[in-house]
Amino acid sequence: MGFLIVQFLTGLSDASGLFLVACGLSLIFGVSRIVNFAHGSFYMVGAYLAYYLIGYLPLGGLSFWASILISGLIVGLIGILVEVLLLKRLYRSPELFLLMGTFGLILVIQDLSRWLFGSEDLLGPRCPGLDGSIDILGTLLPQYDLALIIIALLILLAIWLLLNRTRWGILVRAATEDREMLAALGVNQSLLFTSVFFLGSFLAGLGGALQLPKGGADLLMDLNVIAGAFVVVVVGGMGSILGAYLAALLIGELSAFGVLVLPQSTLVMMFLIMAVVLIIRPYGLFGKGKSGEYEYDEKTSAPIQPASERLKLAGLGLLLLVLLMPLFAGDFQLVLMIEIAILALSSMSLYFMMGPGGMISFGHAVFFGGGAYAAALLVHHLNTPMELALFFAPLLVGLLALIIGWFCVRLSGVYLAMLTLAFAQICWSIVFQWSAFTGGDDGLLSIWPSDWASNRIVFYYLTMTLCIGGILILRHLVFTPFGYTLRACRDSALRVDSIGINLKRHQWFTFALTGFFAGLAGSIYVFSKGSVFPDEMAIPRSFDFLLMVLLGGIEALSGPVIGSAAFIWLHDLISRIHFWQLILGSIFIFLVVAFPRGIAGFLDNRFGRIFSNHIGPRA
């Protein structure tokens, strides 16, 4: 009995920790619709700051709590800085650019933290006065766990009072309901957004500092915590604080007890819960419809045009260059080109889903890594030759995409994106934990091409054929009735329904196509590397693909190819430098501020005239 009570309280304490990260995120999203991926980074900074402050503050027993509060305030100020200097410039850009900006922030803060705080994992100090355990019917529970439970409840109460009993809170709630109306009433939105961002960041910093005695501080915290925070926010309903608390509670308790029944469930429980909740309640427990949907921005949706003669000529020239490359390039350049081609195909398939399809995926790695694993497993267990593996792996991933897509197309916007992430995490955890079949963390090794293709140059041509072929097919699809229908679904769900089109069916097939081509890319990838590890399916991999697509720009068909090339080139160029993430992050931030249409869009703006059929001003 005592054990069960302690297990319950442990779950509650974990839930409290989750709530502390998630409530700030939910608040920010509710008001400004910013999906702030850097929230986890703020949390990490809060933990580091508190660690050092506790050591320096000469306040005795009080220094612990004072440090936590001060850390939260400092992170809140950092939040203001970020909002005013960066995010304010992006409110008028498409949501995707906000995403990319906050991605850049993650990288920048990551390296700045490494520089400022060092890369050692820090063990958190104990909380003075609460460093013991209490005995509950024979089982011990750390006192600090109880303190966390109470603090989370107090913060929930404080936020509730703030939102329901103050003028500021009324404005925040009004902004969550209807931003345009609030603006029409003459409320200073700019100030409101900044203050909400301050509060949200403060809460993130506070959360990071508060969990210090339990978890310490390390450089992986940011990404580790952000996925969980998003799950809580989405399960609770975006913008709902009470929903976030209940969601955290649900996840904390089910995880605490799930572990007893099925020890392997730790990695996946959270995402499983999210998948189930979203399938039953598409907007989360307390969410209201629509608020999480991306509205397609008119600025980004000019009609597509087939390539002009000049552009085709340029493309042909580039193709020729790629084909002649082995004549003058060294081994290293060929390897780099192979990687670019593979990732370009994978990004192109993601682009197909995000651009014409209007569906954002945070879990694209499940298809890419899925392809890699499908091929590797075929080779490893059935001794399948490369040719057959390259044929069957994409089909298998297409099938997987049909299953995942069947659930996902029931949702839209951020909710859809989060469900893709959930499925990706579920698949990743299966691959990670089922060592007997997938090799687990050790991966699968010795997956080499057939003899005829083992020569570097032959493999280069094989890769180019498949990848360029795939990219051209995807490009062609955009111009076909299917591609048009997909864009129609993105533009106006109401209108497609009223001209007899089944929106979900078309989006569902898009998942299958995306899965197939990403799977193809993944299966070539595994033969080019000779091995595969669970990382290929993990969240950072999904983010890589997002970054490649965003880097190229969502507007131009050539975007993903340019984006992948730029990403890998940048990565290769600067990963030899010590603080390469700082540079890469800064580049992203610079890009979204300077080129709100992506690189390809920028090129089109600047040089598009040169490639158009008519010289002179456009009609």
Partner: protein
């Protein structure tokens, strides 16, 4: 004359409030039927029941002899029902021509085609539809850049793409200037005449209603309170009361 739409004892409640209360009426081919009534009379609800966005609590909606209760909008469209919206809804990332092509692709069941390019599909048919609404000369413009009145025309062309026998137009002239209103309704009347289409439309502008409708039905508080030709409805004291209030109506009575 053939009846193409037949509403019988239709009801729909929201949280206990009867938004549409036991309404019955018919629509014949080649007829322009206006549905009017003050705000909250139940026009939109009634409209959304017919186009499939809402499911009725009781009663029946019969289109071309087929009961359509509970069918989805896209299935109702397949029966030959075209729709335009109060706030225009077009594909803004496409040109005028492509918007019409899109409707034709759906009509001909080609939306899953992944081989052909859209560029050359159903060109003649699309241009003909655009000519019918007077938008052929603007076919290459992006829908996002059109004037509001022109968007309404594009919507009309889209709604006509599946050769509908029934057109549902929700506030067809909302947001337009007086001249444009008249032009659009004349255009609609002309199309209705030539193709023997039945049109059900809601409208706030009484001038448009009395000038163009063949017949009018009046809703108030969820009930059908009057129907008939424009002259009859104009003289109906009950209708005058709804729109002008009891005293005004009495005053008007004296003047007449």
């Amino acid at each position: 004359m053939t009846t193409i739409l037949s509403i019988h004892r239709l009801s729909k409640s929201f949280e206990g409030i009867r938004a549409v209360n036991n309404i019955s009426f018919d629509l014949n081919e080649g007829e322009l039927l206006a549905m009017i009534g003050p705000n909250g009379a139940g026009k939109s609800t009634c409209f959304n029941l017919i186009n499939g966005q809402l499911v009725p609590d009781s009663g029946s909606i019969v289109i071309f002899g087929k009961k359509i209760n509970g069918l989805k909008p896209r299935h109702i469209w397949r029966l030959g029902v075209g729709r335009t919206f109060q706030i225009t809804s077009t594909f803004i990332s496409m040109t005028v021509l492509e918007n019409v092509q899109m409707a034709l692709l759906s009509h001909h069941g080609r939306t899953l085609n992944v081989v052909r390019k859209v560029q050359n599909l159903f060109m003649d048919e699309s241009i003909e539809l655009l000519e019918r609404v007077g938008m052929a000369d603007q076919q290459d413009r992006a829908c996002g850049t059109l004037a509001y009145g022109d968007l309404k025309r594009v919507e009309l062309a889209v709604a006509l793409a599946n050769n509908p026998k029934l057109l549902l137009m929700d506030e067809p002239t909302a947001g337009m200037g007086p001249k444009e209103r008249s032009r659009l309704m004349e255009l609609t009347a002309e199309i209705v005449q030539t193709h023997r289409i039945g049109v059900l439309f809601t409208e706030h502008d009484m001038e448009v209603v009395f000038k163009h409708a063949d017949r009018i039905i009046v809703l108030n508080q969820g009930k059908l309170v009057a129907q008939g030709c424009p002259e009859d409805v104009r003289r109906d004291t009950g209708v005058q009361e709804i729109y002008l209030g009891r005293e005004e109506a009495a005053r008007l009575e004296k003047i007449i």
